[in-house]
């Protein structure tokens, strides 16, 4: 059906292109340069790539010092270390002074798989979206990861970008427009809106097909690739036009994208039924990606079920 590719491959390839275009781009890694796909950049620009070792707090401070000196810094490691280990460093040294640092994390979410709960970061959106000055991006696939990397390099200021470990379906086209802060409509529909972010966008598309074929429900699908700032306008318009919202994210439901969307709706004039698909407030466990998606409620079937719940409450 869809071609598959890893988002981090897109990130690594794009970094090299950015490095060729701009000589003020510096890349930092913390002993996961291979996993985060930083090595190509390092091979082409050895003088602009620094591996700080297993020292994420220092990496974050080094990024701040470089940015204070005119560099645009891409600082990358696994999501759990990037946001959790170095939280206070991001807050004090990057967010507060609003520096041009891009914290780009791979291995976010439960699909990390076998490594288990210690490495499955399910709280990073919550941690980053609450920080003033920090914008949060979660591209849906390979093509978007590429565009998002270019876009956050272009826009000055702190960004957090999250990507997963696994290969995920390529659901957008190379030439599709991409704009930070703007959701894109991947499927028009009238009965309910499915809003996904990251790898859950493809599950939303699958769910929309299932709803259409099996239940005669016409679902709209929105790709919310920027989680902060949220595209309030398109959220409210979707609520108005379809009368029901289902959100889907590979993150704890309590403080993620869906929470943000529920806040937007609560303060709008369209208090439509809503259901958030995501992981309950629990730690993950070891397993295959698809097994974990199934067990923790992240499949298209779960989205379909939630859509029915929303439709019944209308």
């Amino acid at each position: 059906m869809w071609e598959m590719a890893k988002q981090r491959d897109a990130y690594g390839e794009t970094l090299v292109e950015l490095g060729r275009k701009r000589d003020n781009i510096v890349v930092l890694g913390a002993d996961l340069a291979g996993s985060c796909r930083l090595k190509k950049f390092g091979e082409e620009f050895p003088e602009r790539m620094f591996n700080v070792g297993i020292a994420e707090q220092n990496m974050t401070g080094i990024a701040a010092g470089l940015a204070l000196s005119g560099k645009t810094v891409f600082s990358s490691t696994f999501a759990v270390f990037a946001t959790g280990r170095a939280y206070d460093q991001i807050r004090q040294s990057i967010a507060y002074p609003e520096l041009d640092v891009k914290i780009v994390a791979t291995h976010a979410g439960i699909t990390v798989g076998g490594d288990g709960a210690s490495h499955q970061m399910l709280e990073d959106i919550a941690l980053m979206r609450v920080l003033p000055n920090v914008k949060v991006v979660a591209p849906a696939d390979y093509n978007e990861s590429r565009k998002a990397t270019f876009a956050i390099a272009e826009e000055e200021g702190p960004f957090y970008m999250r990507m997963g470990r696994s290969s995920v379906p390529i659901i957008t086209e190379k030439n599709d427009p991409f704009e930070l802060g703007k959701a894109t409509v991947l499927r028009e529909g009238e009965d309910v809106t499915l809003i996904g972010t990251g790898i859950m966008v493809s599950e939303c598309l699958k769910a929309a097909e299932m709803l259409n074929k099996q239940h005669d429900v016409d679902a709209k699908v929105l790709n919310m690739s920027t989680i902060k700032p949220l595209d309030d306008e398109s959220i409210v318009r979707s609520a108005r036009d379809t009368g029901g919202i289902v959100t889907a994210e590979e993150h704890v439901v309590s403080q993620g994208m869906g929470s943000g969307i529920s806040q937007v709706l609560a303060e709008s004039n369209y208090h439509v039924p809503m259901k958030r698909v995501g992981i309950p407030n629990v730690f993950g466990e070891s397993g295959e990606s698809d097994e974990l998606m199934e067990k923790y409620g992240l499949t298209a079937e779960h989205i379909v079920e939630s859509a029915h719940d929303v439709l019944e409450r209308r």
């Binding site: 020292a55 974050t60 401070g61 080094i62 010092g65 204070l68 000196s69 005119g70 004090q92 002074p97």
Partner: protein, 281 residues
Amino acid sequence: MPTLNGSKVEELEKIARRVRVHIVRSTNEAGSGHPGGSLSATDILTALYFEVMDHKPEEPNWPKRDRLVLSKGHAAPALYGVLAEAGYFPVEELMTLRKLGSRLQGHPHVKTTPGVDASTGSLGQGLSVAAGMALAAKLNREPYRVFAICGDGELQSGQIWEAAMFSSHNNLDNLIVFLDRNNLQIDGSTEKVNSIEPIISKWNSFGWHVLEIEGHDMDEIVDSVERAEEVHGQPTMIIAHTVKGKGVPFMEGSLAFHGKAANDKQLETALEALGEKNGGD
């Protein structure tokens, strides 16, 4: 053979005295702040900004300037006093310290205060930021130097040692760090709370060039930077032995004034001790 002549030392000491007056006055006016650790770092900051560093108060963001990261951000009143004396902003503005709407936040903030090079306050982070700046200078082949001032209690923080390792690994000889060794942190003596000694061998073993000076001696402070500059391929840690509360007798060596300002009566005593009552200079 002293590095500075007598009149230069006298000039620096006069400035430092005025900075100490600013510290006790501004924290008293604010009703809070950290005079003790500000007073211990005053001579180092004064010597740096008035003798050592290449900077332009009229152009705070001059790209080629030497930088300073006050890792012990709670000594902001000392930094602000020095910056005001240097002409970054009016001396009168010091009395707005910690007040609503002031450019002088409780801890240094790069976005609000002219002359401040990094936002600090959460301890243990400034050395990494300074190392990042030093790395950028190397990348740009710029000759500017990066100075940092760390508190001794900060050495208990793990990130300091991450930065220590990184700086020597990357041969950041343009990074010169002062340790304000006043022996006290908020809960007591550093050696009682969680011993940081032996400091010299720790930094030596992390690949640093280490110097030890009397941190209230202008000539020693300036001379130590010259000695640091002679070393290539290694960052320098200058362990500056200081006295918390230096210059205000009832604050000297006192824990009480780590994080508490003088009240009005104590301010009178402090100003008298600093020679301000007799018209100062």
